[in-house]
Symmetry: C2
Subunit: 152 residues, 2 copies
Amino acid sequence: MSALPAQDVEALQGQLNAYMERKGLRSTNQRRLVSEVFFRADGHLSIDEMLALVREQDAKVGYATVYRTMKLLVECGLANERQFDDTVTRFEVAHADSHHDHLICLECKRIIEFEDEEIERLQARAAERHGFKLVSHKLELYGQCAECRGQK
Amino acid sequence: MSALPAQDVEALQGQLNAYMERKGLRSTNQRRLVSEVFFRADGHLSIDEMLALVREQDAKVGYATVYRTMKLLVECGLANERQFDDTVTRFEVAHADSHHDHLICLECKRIIEFEDEEIERLQARAAERHGFKLVSHKLELYGQCAECRGQK
DNA sequence: TTCTATGCAAACCATTTGCATCCAT
DNA sequence: ATGGATGCAAATGGTTTGCATAGAA
């Protein structure tokens, strides 16, 4: 799993703090822990995975707090909620600049992000063809990753 | 919502019956009702929507039977399960021939199917670029449909 | 008759919420 | 001190399952 450089994590924490201050929300240790774990991993974590990491620092943190903190991060635009083919909801860091899609390995469950401008363009065209004004999209490619194919 | 021609519905019922016979499963009135409602609508129905339609014919049918029948239809390849942005699972008739993607109107929730060979080709290329062997994909475009745009 | 399918209610599981308490401000 | 945040447990909502009974074969 990828890991975000420390200065990026700090920048994101800064954005979160700014948002909380603007909204009159309180900066608690739990919020700091959850968001740090989330930003650092830069992966596609589930609530359970984040809670496990948070509890390494503070064993008394509850599920509800992680749910509530992630909801806050989604609200302020720093996290996106994603549902892949399993039952759990996963969260990813919302990189403000560019949209990306996902390649998901059916064997090892690895999730890789990619971008393809050409596909984006064709999507816009397809939407137009049906009279739609395109707002957002979701593209997931499922298959076997290079490593899992190699191991056979 | 679209509606499938009667002869297509019959063909699908035939496939289901063949499957049940092959597997030694029983042809019950409930299975007939649920599959008929599902095939006829040819839309993207939720369990609740199907149960409501089924109960117009037989008020005593239970939720579990609809769930179990749809599971059966997925197993025999006549239905696909889909999760769009809401919480409910929806089912669509699996047309054996070709893959399709979805345009979803954020306002009226209408779901339109479309195909785009060029996009498919680019998806395969993107997967390849990352060393993936592509198995399946999911593409959903969200926006406002022609009618909802017109109404403003 | 035999054994699968059904209906009901209870069980499940992820997520949300109510409430007393805690703690950042 | 005040009111938002937390932790716990209970509630919720979609889906699944156990079990006694109904009904295909």
